[in-house]
Amino acid sequence: MTGEKWVGKRLERKEDLRFVTGHGTYTDDVTLPGMLHAAMVRSPHAHAKIKSIDCTKAQALPGVHAVITGEDAKKYWGPLPKSVDIDMKIPTVFALAVDKIYYMGEPVVAVAADTRYLAEDAVDLIEVEYEPLEIVVDTEKALAPDAPLLYPEWGNNIQCEWGMSVGPVEEIFAKADHVFEDRIPHHRYSGVPIEGRAALADYDPYNRSLKLWCSTQTPLIVRTLVAQTFDFPEHDVQVIAPDVGGAFGNKIQADAEVIPCLLSMITGRPVKWTESRQENLLSGIQCRDYVWNIKIAVDNDGTLRGLKGEVLGNVGKDGTCHAAGAGKFLVACAYLPGPYKWQAYETNTKVVVSNKAPSGAYRGYGKDIANYPMEIMMNRIADKLGISAVDLRKKNMIEADEFPYQQISGPIYDSGDYHLCLDKALDLIDYDEVRARQAKQNGKDGKYIGVGIGSMLEPSGGAVPMCIFNSYEVATVRMMPEGGFHVLTGHQNIGQGIETTLCQVVADEMACTPDDVRIIFGDTNAVPYGLGPWSSRGATFNVSCVVEAARKLKTNLLEVCANIWQCDGAELEFQGGAVVHKSDTIRRMTLKEIGNQTHLFPGAFGVVPESVSNPFEATHYWTSPVAFWKPDELGRISLYTTHPSGSSAVVVEVDTDTGKITVLDIAMCEDIGTLINPTICEGQVQGGYVQGIGGALLEELEYDEYGQLLNTDLTSYLHPLASDVPDVKVVHIQSPSPFTPLGTKGGAEGGTLMSCAVVVNAVEDALRSFDVKISDLPLTPERVKGLLNAAQAKRDARKTERERKTAPEKTPVEV
């Protein structure tokens, strides 16, 4: 008999009890004796010289303990260290502005006072004189020869350029039956978690140490960056990441988090900074914001031939130091080909700086940028060729028997069944029924139903070269004398449930129950160096190193038992919370007995054979078996280990009177290989999908031409509400990855990175009879109504035109 298996079970989450009772501990919940509170003066200008700063009134205010400007802060710290540098220009930027302002909301002066209230009073008393400079916010205008420069020494506003060309591009484009081209822009928005950033710094001059509680996904990376910023010994820095109230990629750097550290060093007291919502929207990490110019060569029968994509990315002040935003456009170029087969591919990107807030990561990190234009083009091309968008996709998707498949851009796709995913998504939404309903309803009472579909790739576990996010993971599995286990990991619980899933994984390896395991994370003094959750890497990197570490420990413990019983380790196995002899099952030792014997009585000396180096714990370093950085003969690299995939469909209703869009139905089929906890995996898709819908319909960080952010509160930055979406139906198929020990792949981003395109497709489908083409997002009612009006005007014009002419005009083939 074999013991119960935990991987694959819909286990309730171990972490939930503390959350539903209000006993979670988020950074702002931590209070230290003598703690001060930080607040910052933020620039109302988007681009300006700092002429003068007068802090005297603020310094005089009772209860204020420190007031420091960017200039003075240079005595304590250096520029923010770069976190990515793939042939990128690295600007010298500080966490507090020095001399110059680059975006509205940039911190200029920092204050520490007895209370946050007082700190904000002090901020009010600080007078800063600015000399406004010419502003550039628009991506394309930033490239104009006469554009104002953020960093004059660069000579332009381009932070990096990158490109590749594979296959006989020009020849294929010349020969193809059609070339479709389009300009596809995408607006700026971000994760905007309900818990903003928060950091509590405690510098101890007597212990020469710095302790930092911080709401972050990556405590160890933050430790390194903080140490580098202050040129402070990293081994004297401790970062503690308690519960994190949502992150989504926004919390993977040390940016403003260094400011409370600075204030604590100055005052010698603990200083807490809890980002207000206004601060979070102004300068919390922002994302998206790009424009594609895309060309696709295709034959009459729908066979995709060649692909050309040029993407302009806008990273605001910078995308390398405040946060690693610049890298996502390289990922976008690597994955534009998506789940489809191509014969030629050419791409390049220009990453542009502007007077907007710094750009970082948000659920997708380039995979969304790759997916959005491709999935929209697929539908538009299908329309033009008069074939169904489903058939066009299926015709060009990589077949299930072709894996592992090296995509033309370099990545090696591990496993999947793209066709099956698409079919399942269509079944789930009852595609044919919707089409029928659509045919019946559309045109009546001004309401139009549309169904959008899309497919996606969700590369998991990026290993980016020349970047602190270069991917590897280390875990230690440790046995207690009483038989239970600790898993020590640099991974972080940000809501994705590792306190449950990792226990399931270890329970299977050690033949115990999840309750016999506790995950130790979020304390850099307790765990091995690891990179944390981003790029959906948990199920690829973290799970894999935990599994391997557990297996190492297992082997050692079998050796110990074999030594005790004087038999061969191969005759023993873990089973039902014990080690048993396969043939002689009377021989049975519970984990508790093993723990006791090795640790206590008689103790290691008596039972541990020389062959076993360490019976108490095992550590494993896991890195990708397939990612390669050394460019191959075509200059291609492969950065992601596993390639989850999926398809989804959405039904919308457009009210043509008001332009308002209602999402009626959402269905997604995802393939992330082996599922550890299906309930949690579905939750990731459901939440992710709704974030993408927010981007398509509601959310925007909109800057006016003066660089003023127009969405500085939650009445103007619109998260999706419960009343804005229907249930998200999710199914999974499982194509285990050959590259991970359990066949697992990451699954945190698929919903987000594809839903935006699917919604746009659905709306264009609903308004097909108006021949409406969507460009700008989000699809506000006003914007949709505007498109409808324009379409009507166009239609009327054409009508009169036709009446004039006798011969009907011939319409060109391009989209």
């Binding site: 009010d124 040029e310 166009k794 391009e814």
Partner: protein
Amino acid sequence: MPEKPKESAKQHPKKRRSKFDFARPRKEIRKEKKRMNVTGEYILECSKERTWRALNDPQVLSRCTPGFQSMNVVAPDHYEGVVKVGIGSISGTYKGEMKLSDKVDQEKYTIIGEGAGPIGIMNVTGNIELQELDALTTIVYSFEARIGGAVKGLAQRGLIPIAKYLIKQFFGSLAEELAAEKIENRSAHIPETST
């Protein structure tokens, strides 16, 4: 504001020059939506000459400008002072300066005002033109204001109506000034309330 359809390759296959040269009609439309312009006329029962004198008298200007709390003359036609602007519950004190330029005697001038305070920044540019018609002087005005900083997001909501209201107040007080040359300090009182 309804958008023009995006120009696609369909309409102008030849138009594309460099690969990053895309057609973009949108920005201009946006401006209209975000900018704040107020134009209008105000008729005074008095001569152009007297109106012009009043409009150039710092004392009169400071008395008539709603919320003006203090003003001193830096140079001819260049004043600095403190204005307390209230928009319902929203109220902010701005330190700022005001310049009169492009003067044509008894015809017109341009006002350029800048202010900054804890809740944000404010820039106002206004043109004022005088026309006389039998003993009546018509003041034709056009103002463009823009605000920035924390106040921006919320204030946008009531901005134009409030600006119109404040401008009316200004000319109202000016009319009174001219009617009876009585001196009396005024400031815009805007009731502050809550839900």
